[in-house]
């Protein structure tokens, strides 16, 4: 039975969902009428109005049985993808993968901090990582978050994390576009679940110097005909190794996709479990990329540098392009890092500030290819003032447009 209302939802530049709600019966007419200006979505310099093209798939709203949600792409009057359409940017990366015979499977692993609505302080002060009791008073929120699987967001578990009031949400892996969709829906609906319980859910990269940062780890693998191409006799395949090499080589120049705010760089400190250099290993939380060889079905690569408030479509697209670039060049990764990667000065450093990251990003052909010329230029011009502000000593804060 058709829901009475339809929420059309599309990601803005920071991956936050913007919505327009219409009567389902009026959807066709509404789509003819509705126009969105990308500049209002944070895409500076892209200001020709675009139309919404909703997915065929409709999700029930977790909070209103009379409402369905359809994720949209942004298209121009000819039906071509807008340069400001984050989902289309990921589409293009996935098409490039398919052209090489690869299907990308991915999952985002996100952290959030639950805050008191009034004070903005975490709901509890102590660290009770994995504490099976710690989260109990907030189970109303987290149970709602876990129930989002009934609404197309495949949450498979949650636990308190290594920070005051911090929780980790695990999402099942799946086709990369669905995985990115799940991440943006999770952030939106987790925020709603918290608000309904009288709290706030923050995905900000870091809320205060003394608090743990929140990351978005991206798990990824390439498949063909139902076979995991990263798996070969119990270890990472040659395809996987080249993909890994691509991720590592391109990580510095693509950093702003996962860390688009000055605040995000405050996560990047020694011992923080946020990587600070180009490094990989089998299973080592001090490195930037973990290779998890956990059997044929589960062998995957986990890149660990992105912040929880980054745009998942752009993060996924950049990493997939980087990995494919490695495969195209038959690249070989450097030797794995043993031991504490924070104490190995010979490893190439990752940018520690937006000021370090932006010039690499601006000069990156891969970033330009990933985003498209206009989106790349737009993002560069959006980030430039933030660099100026941070160099002028402005305190790092959440994204002014995202405000997670």
């Amino acid at each position: 039975m058709m829901a009475e209302f339809c929420d059309l939802a599309w990601p803005d530049a920071v991956g936050r969902l913007r919505t327009a709600s219409v009567r389902s019966a009026d959807l066709g007419e509404a789509l003819k009428r509705l126009r969105v200006n990308p500049a209002d979505l944070g895409w500076e310099g892209i200001d020709e109005p675009v139309r919404l093209e909703p997915d065929e798939v409709a999700r029930r709203s977790p909070f209103d049985p009379q409402r369905e949600v359809r994720l949209c792409r942004l298209v121009d009057e000819r039906g071509e993808a807008s340069p400001a359409c984050s989902r289309s940017i990921l589409d293009r990366a996935l098409a490039a993968a398919r052209a090489s015979g690869f299907e990308v499977v991915a999952a985002a692993e996100l952290e959030l901090t639950l805050l008191e609505a009034d004070s903005g302080r975490p709901v509890y002060d102590v660290i009770e990582n994995y504490g099976i009791v710690a989260g109990a008073p907030y189970e109303g929120v987290m149970r709602t978050v876990r129930s989002l699987r009934e609404f197309g967001v495949p949450v498979i578990g949650s636990n308190p994390e290594y920070g005051a009031g911090q929780f980790e949400i695990n999402l099942a892996h799946g086709p990369a576009l669905e995985a990115a969709d799940a991440a943006v829906l999770l952030r939106t609906w987790a925020g709603a679940a918290a608000a309904r319980a009288g709290y706030r859910a923050s995905f900000a990269a870091k809320l205060a110097p003394e608090l743990s940062g929140s990351g978005m780890h991206v798990h990824q693998s390439l498949w063909r005909d139902g076979a995991n191409l990263f798996w070969a006799d119990g270890e990472l395949s040659s395809t996987g190794r080249s993909y890994l090499a691509g991720l590592l080589e391109r990580m510095p120049e693509l950093t702003p996709l996962g860390s688009p705010t000055a605040l995000a760089y405050t996560r990047r400190s020694d011992g923080s479990f946020c990587p600070v250099n180009v490094s990989w290993s089998g299973d080592n939380r001090t490195v930037a990329v973990r290779v998890l060889a956990e059997g044929e079905g589960a062998t995957r690569i986990e890149q660990r540098d992105a912040a929880a408030d980054a745009n998942p479509y752009l993060v996924f697209a950049g990493q997939i392009r980087a990995g494919l670039d490695g495969i195209a060049r038959d690249a070989e990764p450097p030797p794995p890092t043993d031991g504490n990667a924070y104490h190995q000065p010979q490893l190439p450093p990752l940018p520690r500030t937006l000021a370090e990251a932006l010039p690499l990003f601006a000069a990156s052909e891969l970033a330009r290819e990933t985003l498209g010329e206009r989106a790349h230029a737009s993002l560069c011009s959006t980030l430039a003032p933030r660099v100026e502000e941070s160099l002028a000593g402005a305190p790092a804060g959440p994204d002014p447009d995202g405000a997670w």
């Binding site: 102590v126 990582n129 876990r146 578990g157 949650s158 290594y162 290993s281 299973d283 956990e294």
Partner: protein, 374 residues
Amino acid sequence: MSEASVRPASQAALEALEQAVAKGAAHTVRVCFPDHYGVLRGRRLPAEVFCERPTAEQAFCDGALVWDIRCDIFEEVDFSNYRTGYPDLYAHPDPETLAPLAWADGEWGVMADSCDAHGEPLDVDPRTTLRVTAERADALERPVSATLELRVPDPAVGAWAPGSAPELAQRLQSALTGREPGVAAVEWDRPARVVRLHLEPAAPLATADALALLRSAARELSRALGVRLTAMPRLDADAAPTRMLFELDADGPPPDAAAAQELSLFLAPLPVAHSDFGEHVRERTVAAASDANPYLALAAALAATQGRRAAGAEGPESAPGYAGAIVRFAQSPLAADWFAPRLRHDALELALREQRLRESAVTEWDIERYWECG
């Protein structure tokens, strides 16, 4: 562990869970593993996700097995540190422990063994340590009767009233309903402000699981009722310490007092318990502190029944207090014989850390003394 290895008893529990999910009576499964202090850690899964793969392992940072009581990590432990890179441990659910968590509406719980990437149990895993010790002591199925004491610090909540300590005690009495062992009896010792929970006799591993769950339930229920309840064994110098008591089966060998004293770091792992705790052994009962890791404490109790000191053998020097416990454990031939080297090493490092932190702390006592002497 493969799906096929789900045993019939646990199959019944799984089917009961599936039925409860279908009826809307169950929504969450907590996969729990104990850390070094016996505090349950883990993850909440949607119940239907658990039912799809009930023996699927859950990955966690392995620092969880060697962090201190505040979850602070540090470099001196061998098992996991920045040099090892804090890789994953894999919590393998033990299907036989799947049952409702009676104190948490709609939630079920399953205990898990902490294993490495190859599925091998870790030598620092408390559940594994107890299982291995009990097996060696031929006590895997030998029943233990356990008692857990918890203190209510605020005297004002002692009266019978909603939100009172007696109400909390009653809620705890039913916290293990549907599990074995359950709570056989509960006492509210009003003068001592102690809730005393007596478990039904059960095998060692089931007993330790029940104690760990009971402490979790106590924390949750006390928060929900607004009654402070603590496993901290000493809150002031005048009160007797609260304890975790293990009465060992009469058919087995009795515990040896000197042996238990050597292992007192497993019976009372934090400094506060060590001032005037008294003897660990009285006839067949071994007394641990109420904040002890129930798995390691019970393992120590069982080792103390088997590792009796040979007549005339020289044991480690006995010294009072926490420092003495550390020295005794470090020098103990019994500990060396019965417990994995890495577990012993890391237990000692954790204890030394606690000792350093305590010695560097400025306490209320210090402050009072300063001002009194002004």
